[in-house]
């Protein structure tokens, strides 16, 4: 019984972490699906979101949902601006050039934040989210877990609705499938890319606020590792495929908590990269990916 309880406990932790990874992974996958760019700065957008959430909680004293909305709005704008300034001029250059630029944007966000706000950690105000623990069959479930998992699932459902049922979503799918054909059908690629960045960045911001709630602290470099892991999650599910990112995110979160719960927690960062390398070598298109031949 104790073993089952222990396992269930790890699953709960894994699901919370996985929900956060999945939200970040969605942004990676959407952007990659549309402009074939690994937006290296995505994790840092999440960090900015966490800070916006932090300040609206501590300075404005707003409640957690309002803080999350603020963060999502702010990051949507930042995401669009970054795309317009840094990525748009490179849309027709090599993918390596775009990737290097994305690394630059990532460093810029990190160190501008560090420069302005200092390198130290800031603690999320405890009053913003009073923790209650529920005991259920010997398993500890806190309202943090519930908050993270439920809001992540709601956001994913909204995203699915936008992508499947609205005209904007149709445009996004069309551009990611065949950009030239989409242009011929009268779809504005620029506008669609902007919307993609806005949605992806706002999901990252939501994840940022969740990380703030979950781990209680924010710091300027907090986006790097979750960003990389979410990227691995996106690749695991098949980059460019939206349900893939969700599944990949949850798998990644569960795997990571299992490794640190049952194995050596110091290795948990290496696990993500090990998974990445294994997928890339065995099935580079990811779990949900289809094979496409190389065209000359």
């Amino acid at each position: 019984m104790a073993i089952v309880q222990e396992f269930a406990q790890q699953m709960i932790n894994g699901l919370s972490l996985g929900a956060i990874y999945a939200l970040i992974a969605l942004g990676y996958t959407m952007v990659y699906g549309i402009i074939k760019l690994i937006n290296f700065a995505h994790g840092d957008i999440m960090m900015v979101g966490a800070y916006v959430g932090f300040f609206s909680l501590s300075v404005l004293g707003s409640n957690i949902l309002v803080a999350m909305l603020f963060a999502m709005l702010a990051c949507a704008i930042i995401g669009v601006v970054i795309e317009k300034i840094a990525y748009k001029p490179l849309r027709n250059s090599t993918r390596i050039a775009a990737l290097i630029t994305a690394i630059g944007v990532s460093l810029l966000l990190e160190y501008v934040t560090l420069f302005i706000l200092g390198a130290g950690q800031r603690v999320f105000p405890e009053t913003a989210f009073p923790v209650t623990n529920y005991h259920f069959l010997g398993i500890l479930v806190s309202n943090k877990d519930l908050f993270v998992i439920i809001s992540a699932v709601i956001l994913m459902l909204v995203l699915q609705y936008i992508i499947r049922r609205t005209k904007t979503g149709k445009a996004m799918r069309a551009v990611s499938e065949d950009q030239e054909a989409a242009v011929l059908m009268g779809i504005s690629v620029d506008k669609t890319v902007s919307i993609t960045f806005a949605i992806g960045s706002s999901l990252a911001a939501a994840a940022g606020v969740m990380i703030g709630v979950y781990y209680n602290t924010v710091n300027p470099l907090m986006g790097i590792i979750p960003g990389l892991k979410a990227f691995v999650a996106a690749v695991l599910g098949g980059i460019g495929i939206i349900p893939g990112a969700m599944v990949g995110g949850f798998l990644m979160g569960i795997l990571e908590t299992m490794v640190s719960g049952y194995g050596n927690s110091l290795y948990r960062d290496a696990v993500a990269f090990g998974v990445l390398i294994l997928i890339l070598l065995i099935k580079p298109t990811g779990l949900f990916g289809k094979n496409t031949g190389e065209k000359v």
Binding site: S106, L107, N264, G274
Partner: protein, 316 residues
């Protein structure tokens, strides 16, 4: 016969110039003309030249974006320190072991990952670099997260100068050989290169292994200059540092990499008390260079004997 003599004269002239530079450096260091601050700077410049030129072989000439250079540097640093600090081997053997180990790591990592293309390769190499670091953090024999302290200072000016020149000579000669042409053809058009009968995987791995080997050399020199090594020194931010030099200098220009390494290292030293500003500048360099001059400052041009000769108006 005449060409033979010409080659020899040129070689001797160059050797003489290098000997003069070396002696001047040695003189400046022993007499204290260069104070400690500038000595450390000079040391960093040499190490960064080795790193930038070797990464440029992979990223610039072969066109395979690797973000794991710091990992190979870590392998070299740790292996050399184990050899000198723990097993009491002479420094030269330690350096050779460091190069071999890093090259071997490059081979083991390169063979599977070089099948990947572009951004996937970049992320996979970044992942491997991080794995190397995390593994080092977990080995108690090498001090775990706190690393190894009290390393003997065995890196002398002669070692630095010699290693830098060796790196430059080996990589320039490699690029100018038939191997080099094959390597460049992989960058220009992999499919076409393959159709011309070039075993592209082989050349990619070759470039990767040689690049890793020199990164190991740089790691050994680094470890034996700064007394202390720890896994945190070799994060992917270190790889990005080197990438900034390669991108700024020009992907595919050895002289560009050298110039950028000197420039960036001096900039780093000047901004030592403002680390955030330094990183913001790095970031802006990456973005602005990619948007406005994606080929870097030098493109794929080199400053060599010919340019110098033209500048001095040498007669034909």
């Amino acid at each position: 016969m005449q060409t033979f003599n010409k080659t020899w004269t040129r070689f001797l002239a160059e050797a003489a110039v290098l000997a003069v530079i070396f002696t001047l450096g040695q003189y400046a260091i022993t007499t204290g003309l260069l104070n400690q601050y500038y000595q450390i700077n000079l040391n960093s410049i040499c190490i960064n030249i080795i790193l930038a030129v070797s990464l440029n072989l992979i990223n610039g000439f072969t066109g395979q974006l690797s973000l794991g250079h710091a990992g190979f540097m870590a392998v070299g640093a740790y292996v050399s320190v184990i050899m000198t600090n723990r097993l009491d081997f002479p420094f030269i053997l330690a350096v050779l072991a460091a190069c071999t180990a890093a090259a071997l790591a490059g081979f083991i990592i390169g063979v599977p990952t070089l099948r990947l293309k572009g951004d996937y390769l970049a992320i996979a190499t970044l992942g491997f670099g991080e794995i190397i670091r995390v593994v080092l953090q977990n080995i108690d024999y090498v001090g775990g997260p706190s690393g190894i302290m009290g390393i003997a200072k065995l890196t002398t000016w002669a070692w630095l100068f010699g290693s830098t020149i060796l790196t430059l000579v080996v990589i320039t000669n490699l690029i100018n050989s038939s191997y080099g042409r094959a390597i460049i053809s992989v960058r220009e058009d992999e499919v076409a290169a393959e159709l011309m009968g070039i075993n592209t995987t082989r050349y990619k791995v070759l470039a990767f292994v040689i690049g890793a080997m020199f990164a190991g050399l740089a790691g050994a020199l680094y470890a034996h200059y700064f007394y202390i090594i720890k896994p945190d020194t070799f994060t992917f931010l270190k790889s990005f540092d080197i990438l900034v030099m390669v991108v700024l200098g020009g992907l595919g220009s050895t002289t560009g990499a050298v110039i950028a390494a000197i420039f960036i290292t001096s900039l780093t030293a000047a901004l030592q008390s403002f680390p955030a500003i330094r990183m913001i500048l790095y970031a802006l360099i990456l973005i602005i260079v990619m948007i406005y001059r994606p080929q870097g400052l030098m493109g794929n041009k080199e400053v060599g004997r010919k340019t110098l000769a033209r500048m001095w108006g040498e007669k034909k």
